[in-house]
Subunit: 341 residues, 2 copies
DNA sequence: TTGTAGGCGTTATCAG
DNA sequence: CTGATAACGCCTACAA
């Protein structure tokens, strides 16, 4: 005689079937109640709910996923799990999804399109119900393609489509604000440290810088512009070059806070004081920008809200609604690192 | 042979069954080859491998999880997904697991034991193959209990058991090193900013501070000790109190870098220079401690390695081996924030 | 409104 | 060594 697994572990895991038995109904009825997929008589509903509470039943997401239903998990493609900027974003996603019973599945693509595609494959194989991509490098077309089967929320670009929602921040205006702030203080020779040109955010901020300069009637001087890649160390290097070049300038605008921190270190090593000898403005408003010396002027970027909004939009799509929401406008946070020349 | 699109997208997903058909074997045989769970003839093995390559077949982890009980995913309980300290740890875990085809499932417990238990339930319901708990607040007994069914690696405490491996850092010695460093420089009145007393790390560092003081024949003075909770703002507050108290001291040792950054800000607001007027030493060696002004002396804590080691130990347990590995000894990183009084 | 039957894609068991 | 066959826990037509 064959021994069935179910015979052996009669008292094993609490399954939907056992709930059905206890409640005296069929498994499908329990499923219906669980998913609200059909109307069930009040009496049976109550019996089932009692049984669920009594047994402490929790649906198995793995089985659910296999059966074609939802896995209640959302794939989140980030570029680095320990990114200082995206940290709050991940938290925002996590907290927002949690309110709806969804779990995020974080993977890191390391700023590489190929690796990003691989990440998405992994996520799909794990049957995630949706995808949130933070500043991915994949082409718009590739995204539109996969959004045909899987709802996607993407940040850092503007793109529309069925099952596709994007959340973009106005980096251009942010760049304008930072530059205008320095100009208003009386600066005319303002250096700029660029971010990675592959990063649309970075080029937008640069565009903002140039636009504000022009609006104020200040000639753009390419000798005051240095390249960086958003990491602290390149802020140090760029500022060293700037200082060594012999060019005169009274302020530095770095395309992100991390490079601004690097710039501050370089200035310190050159015995230049902030803001007495040199004004400094960053971009992002990282939490730590409040705790550097002196507290740094910067452009606020709502990283946490970005995560919340992305998750909310995803939940809306999953609910069949039209996703809504947009990021707040950029805002300059004036602190102590910027002053009159 | 050429691969035609029509072959790949024949009808829906590429399943194990289709591989079996193409190779002319049974699904069981394909499964055996995939898992190396039995010896298969070379000829069939080759046929199957060709079919897999031809179809681009990737096993479905969800189905695998249901059928075999293994999901190739490891639950990681962290306290905050955006913790500055644990960021590199998460990256270490992710990268190490990836080499073995495992994926991490991150959840945040927010320093709360109840929430931690809930997180673990979620993870178990998702059928993770193991659990890595970063400085959890759960009792040793609770951990031992759940480790009976699920292998666990835990950091921040020392505890043994079957299916349970712990990785602890020598915070006491770290505290000694930092204090000794200041004593050697000639400081006698050294203030200390404590971390959350609920945090074993924090009390160990405090113990190290007192021990080093005693070894140097310096009387412990509780008026030089202030409380904090590891956040920057409490470093500011503690230092303000210290300065307002009228006590004389020439150095501050903060139980972590974040509070040290706060202390630096407070000193700055009081027009005290670092290190000329006050020496400052932190703990953790966060990446940013190199980019503050002045670059901060601190005790190195190997956050990234912690993640790697935890993941490696987990993979060893999963492979039925005895987990090994331990954290490197603490090391003082002397930079510019500490000097002779 | 409810139950029955048949998957979802893979692994495990057992008989050859 | 290999192949049926029965799970794994749930969902979804299709019937009733």
């Amino acid at each position: 005689m064959k021994i069935k697994r179910s015979d052996i572990e009669k008292s094993g895991p609490v399954t939907l079937e056992r709930v059905a038995d206890l409640a005296g109904v069929s498994p499908s009825t329990v499923s219906r109640i669980l998913n609200g997929s059909a109307v069930v008589s009040t009496a049976k509903k109550k019996a089932v709910e009692d049984a669920i509470a009594h047994l402490g039943f929790v649906p198995n997401p793995v089985a659910r996923g296999l059966a074609g239903g939802r896995t209640l998990s959302i794939g989140v493609v980030t570029q680095a799990i320990d990114s200082p900027f995206y940290g709050p974003t991940l938290r925002g996603i996590e907290e927002e999804l949690d309110t709806a019973g969804y779990s995020p599945l974080f993977v890191s693509a390391h700023w590489d399109a190929a690796s990003e595609a691989r990440c998405i494959d992994v996520l799909r194989s794990r049957r995630v119900d949706g995808l949130i991509v933070l500043h991915g490098r994949l082409s718009d077309q590739a995204l539109k393609n996969t959004s045909k089967n899987l709802p996607i929320v993407i940040t850092g670009r503007s793109i529309k489509g069925p099952g596709l929602f994007s959340l973009n921040f106005d980096n251009f205006t942010g760049g304008v604000l930072a530059t205008e702030h320095l100009i208003k203080l009386g600066h005319r020779r303002i250096a700029f440290i660029k971010g990675d040109p592959l990063h649309p955010d970075a080029t937008e901020r640069f565009r903002g810088y140039k636009s504000a300069l022009q609006a104020a009637g200040i000639a753009f001087d390419s000798r005051l512009v240095m390249s960086g890649d958003y990491q602290e160390i390149t802020g140090v290097q760029a500022t060293n070059h700037l200082l060594d070049s012999g060019q005169k300038f009274t302020a530095i605008f770095a395309a992100n806070d991390q490079m601004a921190f690097g710039a501050a270190l370089s200035l310190h090593q050159h015995s230049l004081r902030i803001p007495e000898d040199m004004s400094l403005v960053g971009f992002d408003n990282l939490a730590r920008s409040l705790y550097v010396i002196p507290p740094m002027s910067t452009v606020n970027q709502p990283a946490y809200e970005l995560g919340q909004l992305a998750a909310t939009a995803m939940l809306q799509m999953l609910a069949g609604k039209k996703p809504t929401g947009s990021l707040p406008a950029p805002q300059l946070i004036a602190r102590d690192s910027s002053a009159r020349p």
